[in-house]
Amino acid sequence: MSRREAVTRLAAAGLVAGGVGAGALFFHDRRRAEASAPPIPDWRVPPSDQFPLAAAATGSDPADNVRRVVAVLGGMGRFVRAGESVLIKPNVGWDRIPEQAANTDPQVVAELVRLCRAAGARRVVVTDISCNDPRRCFARSGIAAAAGAAGAEVIESHRLKLVPAALTGLAAGLEVIEELLKADRVINVPVVKHHSLSRVTLGMKNWYGVVGEGRNRLHQAIDRSIAELGAAFRPTLTVMDATRLLVRNGPQGGSLGDVRAGNAVAAGTDPVLCDAWGAAQLGHAPDSLPFIQLAQQRGLGRADLKAIRQV
């Protein structure tokens, strides 16, 4: 064998061995098996003495009610800066039309989208995890059409990506909407209605809708779960839709006989105060609801109805 051939063979063998070794070192323990849940951001804006913690408006035009309460709170420009992405979380839980009052009123959602757009939001996402077929819920609630026309990107539940959530106070194994964790600002827009287990479903309860798998376990300890979710998700703004009130057979309703005209909208930066207002609309003293008490004890807000400015 010639020296050249010998050198070539040795070099080839050395190169292959080196390549295998380098590859092995590159991949060696490169990844751990356990994926860690990303933290849930805090979407609140700094508190201000200039503005009330919450405001409520009555009137037959839901969009006008929204404009008035947001204006009193400092205008949407206080909450959404130019270039930010906003996620609006209405209740689109059910295959119901607006008159049945099981979902957030589409005009309320659409007006919020317009205000965010006017404030310069780069992107406004409207989404929820529906209980019925999401295609039907988003269409029949009127929210897909109204919010889409107002300039929002409407994402129906089946197109959402879910990721593990860092909700340590509740059992592990809850998944939340990934879009939510990526948003700069979050506006929670519940509808005020009756609920068979927690008596009323309001703003903090509306967070059930960002939880995918595992949500059905939260009902075992509903009041504690609501308070835990309220502690985990700190929205920029909560907007309570009491345009129509579902007073019986919640949270799904169905009969128009269960619906009462509310003609009111409230908004605020204190989620507990907003829930207290919603409870009052349905005739419940805030202190009578265990989840509001728990949330107060945890310092998530104060259920002092006097702090609400009526406009």
Binding site: M1, A13, V20, G21, H28, Q220
Partner: protein
Amino acid sequence: MSWTRRIRVVYQAFFLVLFLWLLARLAAGDPRDLPFTAFFHLDPLAAVGVTGAAGTLPGPLIWGVALIVLTILFGRVFCGWVCPLGTLQHLVSRLLSPRSRRESLRVNRYRRWYALKTYILVALLVGAAAASLQTGLLDPLSLLARGLASGVWPMLPGGKPVPGGWLAGGLLLAVLVASRFIPRLFCRAFCPLGALLGIFARFALFRIRRAGEGCSTCSLCTFACQGADEPLGEHRVAECHVCLNCTDSCKDGVIRYRFLAPAAPAPAKPDLSRRYLLGSGLGALVAAPLLQAAGGGRGAARAELIRPPGALAEPEFLQRCIKCSLCQQACPTGALHPAIGQAGVEGFWTPVLVPRRGWCEFACTRCGEVCPTGAIAELTAARKTGYDGAPPVRIGTAFVDWGRCLPWAKSTPCIVCEEMCPTSPKAIWLEEVVEPDRHGRPVRLQRPRVDPALCVGCGICEHRCPVGEMAAIRVSSVGETRDPLNRMVVSVPG
């Protein structure tokens, strides 16, 4: 017999005995820290397969590099000198097939379809990278260990039956019997590990070479050629097991195993078809995602899919399990069994815990200690039991069947499940009731109830339940630590 062959036989015997002895010690529950996983840690097929599937090379599997370097130096010496499955086939072909010289020549001729093993390798590796790790089905070390654990050990005195074990035992038997007709048929035509080593053997520095002068072309070299690599013709170094039967039998002394022996000219017909290579890769690209999506495995948690304690979440687990059965062999209660249908097509032969067969011993962490790939994470007893203060490692939850349970349904006192429950406080508690029997006489009964916040799913309750074939308390996988979505109650953290 020359000294080279004698040394080789000593090596083969040593590694075969070592392999069997380690399995035997594992089954006997030897408390010493013996190198139970050594063979598998050296297995580059496991290393490459797991890396392809999981995107990471778990810890000690990096030893596979040593075997590749050894192959680059000496050729496929692993196949001829170390591999216990190769040795067993070698033994079968030698003991069971007295052959004429003509027949020996015929069975040891190279055949083009022996390239099948390389297509199998490509399909397995592409499949692993695409979706599903299945190298363990044909990895010779897994195949042998599994065949022994599921097929042979149950036959030994004191052995516990393994339902469905005949499949694994049968495959091993088929491999061995095939060697009676064509020596080392599995190595030559099917072994993906041999094919992988063959790729590196092409660069081997030591190799067989027939030095032209003085060869009488008597073909004696081919009579006992284990790899069917044609030492007399254009020697196929990728097929050669380096058994050195050829150098030994060459009476002209022209065949030698030498450092930097000149490479043989390329054979007239290439041994691999590009079309088939592409075909096997593309086939795996279709088949592997199909297995994953439609094979019924990973998608949702399954009641009867109870994995060993410390097992990773199902996708991660399936990316690492090489179906070697070491956990099964190590399980002191015989609780771990090769899955037949419980884990879907993809999870065929992966370990599942069958509580009626055995239970997960509360403080035992044996399966994780011997898992060569980390599919079952190694736990400490304190971690597993929760004595370290964190929640214990759960593998499922027990449920009482009120229709079968003696105190619940038959007015018959019994507390066996509660008595066996190892957690502290016990997950199974007893509700005292006084109930009339059929004659109206009051009977004091203690009805077992399960606290899901405390139950770890160990299954000793189900195992010891006196209600025959189907226990009156049964474990299903809900609540298992490894799957945060497979839960039942909200109040149990961890």
